[in-house]
Symmetry: C2
Subunit: 348 residues, 2 copies
């Protein structure tokens, strides 16, 4: 590689001092980019993720365009599920739809295991292309967490209230635990294969776990997450946790053997620090603000940076994914602002 | 009335000691009841709410069946909007859909005012029938809060992320404030007419305001809510605040001139008390638990009651509305359990 490898993101994730605050955006690759939309006219999501060269291009594009400090593998959290026998299809405008939802312990017992080299070779090939040849920033691998995956597998698709999922959890704790165990094993195997292929950090998306109260999280989910992070810790790459609307669980995440607590905009960085989160934090601009005039965006980003830079270990991100209506120029300008503003403060 | 008026709910809402913990359930009237579903086969929601006798029957039914300590007027938070010129229709399986969404300050300026006697006489007639003749428990009147109403008016229907609403709020603060002012005035007028007709308490539903961060709530919403509660306070009836996924705003609500902080299940009663909420609280069983086996329901209800009874001023409720799959027997059994368990503890 010609350019020096930019490890700012990795250092911040480990709580070390950096020269500027590193930036990346959840869903930085995707429908907000005109180049992506053009590709999407020719290929389906399935086709894009199954062609490593194309998928690498999609993953790298926003890094080049916005000058972000990390890339995140372009794929869906559902990707590993077909290997377990889950019949999942991503329906446009709906989300993941599952033809054979989990209804019983027998359905859980029927689930298989993942063998990444055989089941998702295209994921590993994409990572290799990116990390061995193309990227000069770290590539973040990722996986959905067991609760969030289970919610799709039980509801049969996206849900508003996760009633079926919770009912299953409360009514059939044995089947629930068996399901968590299978998904835990899958997550560990899948993520370790991503790290082996070249991923330099990992983010676990428990996108919908904020639907649970703290007591249920402790009883039904935390042991599972503890197993996952304890095992991934052996790989010695930074581990990040994220979920939406999960402010009430932030201290639970902080207890887990992970490196970075990802926050959405509902909990300010300052309040997270006041509650006792001493680990590195990542976040947390409300992506809706990206539709506001630039002065508003800058004001809000500045407030987040001032709070985040109060101690080492801060990664700037959004509080949720970029959505299609956001203009690429806005993200480019935002990255430049975060870099310049933080560099000026941190050099003092 | 033959039976003595049961004012337990009102006393608890004022923070006074009671002989048992009062109970009611959000959406206690509705699709979870077979009698309601039978009515719904003959009449639309519009037709039910426009026939005072029928609407009173629907409102009273769960009170009689479950022995609950309060009734809540059966209607939708959208009901007052047509009076302002909002073209709203409740679409089955979708929710409220608005044909003329707000796009500009001019759209806001075009909004009219509500004159309850002329615009919603059927609401007032329903309240009169219930409170003058039928109920021996308090009737709770209600209204949607400005942010939640505005979210429908701007998005044009239900939304996942409220992007348009937030973008409007950030980009056009003048138009936003004008919209809040109109909705504030409407809410005050509408709720006062309900109280005059006989409602003995009021719950304000800011169902979706949890999508905002604390700083935005303080800047864009809190002054509005302060105006509403300050004006309603003159009526001397208990005022309750509620929203879903809004744990991070609970202390903001506590600051407002209201009587009861409604909590969803994400924040435990104990933690709410620890954070400094000294007012009466209402909540907060996750309605999904109503699909669990009875032992689970009882265990969770008991935990909530133990926390809630630690000081006077506790109303048992769910953390969100009853949904259609819940069996009426379960709610009846739950009310009986809350009454008996709390009475046995409070008599000691």
């Amino acid at each position: 590689m010609e350019r020096k490898f930019n490890d700012t993101f990795l250092r911040a994730a480990r709580g070390e001092k950096t020269e500027h605050v590193p930036v990346w955006y959840m869903r930085q690759a995707g429908r907000s980019q005109p180049e992506y939309r053009a590709i999407k006219e020719k290929y389906s999501l399935f086709e894009i993720t199954h062609q490593p060269e194309l998928c690498a291009y999609v993953t790298k594009l926003p890094v080049d365009q916005y000058n972000n400090d990390a890339a995140i593998l372009y794929k869906d959290i559902m990707s590993p599920l077909p290997a377990l026998g889950v019949d999942v299809e991503i329906k446009s405008g709906v989300g993941p739809v599952i033809a054979n939802p989990i209804r019983s312990k027998a359905d859980v017992d029927r689930l298989g295991e993942i063998h990444p080299e055989e089941d998702v070779p295209y994921v590993l090939d994409t990572i290799k292309i990116l990390t061995q040849e193309q990227l000069n920033v770290p590539l973040i691998g990722f996986a959905g967490a067991p609760f969030t995956l289970a919610s799709y597998m039980i509801e049969g698709g996206p849900s508003k209230n996760y009633n079926k999922t919770k009912a299953f959890m409360y009514a059939e704790p044995e089947a629930w635990n068996a399901l968590m165990d299978k998904l835990t094993e899958m997550t560990i195997t899948y993520v370790k294969s991503q790290i082996k292929a070249g991923a330099k950090a990992v983010q676990i998306f428990d996108s919908w776990v904020g639907a649970l109260n703290v007591a249920d999280y402790r009883q039904f989910i935390k042991p599972t997450m503890n197993k996952i992070f304890s095992s991934l810790r052996e790989e010695n790459v930074p581990l990040i946790m994220f979920g939406v609307g999960a402010s009430h669980l932030a201290m639970e995440w902080h207890d887990l053997p992970l490196d970075v607590v990802g926050l959405d905009w509902r909990l300010s960085i300052q309040e997270a620090r006041e509650r006792g989160i001493t680990k590195a934090v990542q976040g947390n601009l409300d992506p809706a603000i990206l539709l506001a005039p630039w002065e508003v965006i800058e004001e809000r980003a500045k407030a987040i940076l001032d709070q985040g830079m109060a101690q080492p270990g801060f990664i700037f991100n959004l509080g949720h994914g970029v959505f299609p209506e956001v203009k690429p120029e806005t993200l480019k300008k935002l990255t430049a602002f975060v870099h310049e503003y933080s560099a000026s403060k941190l050099s003092k």
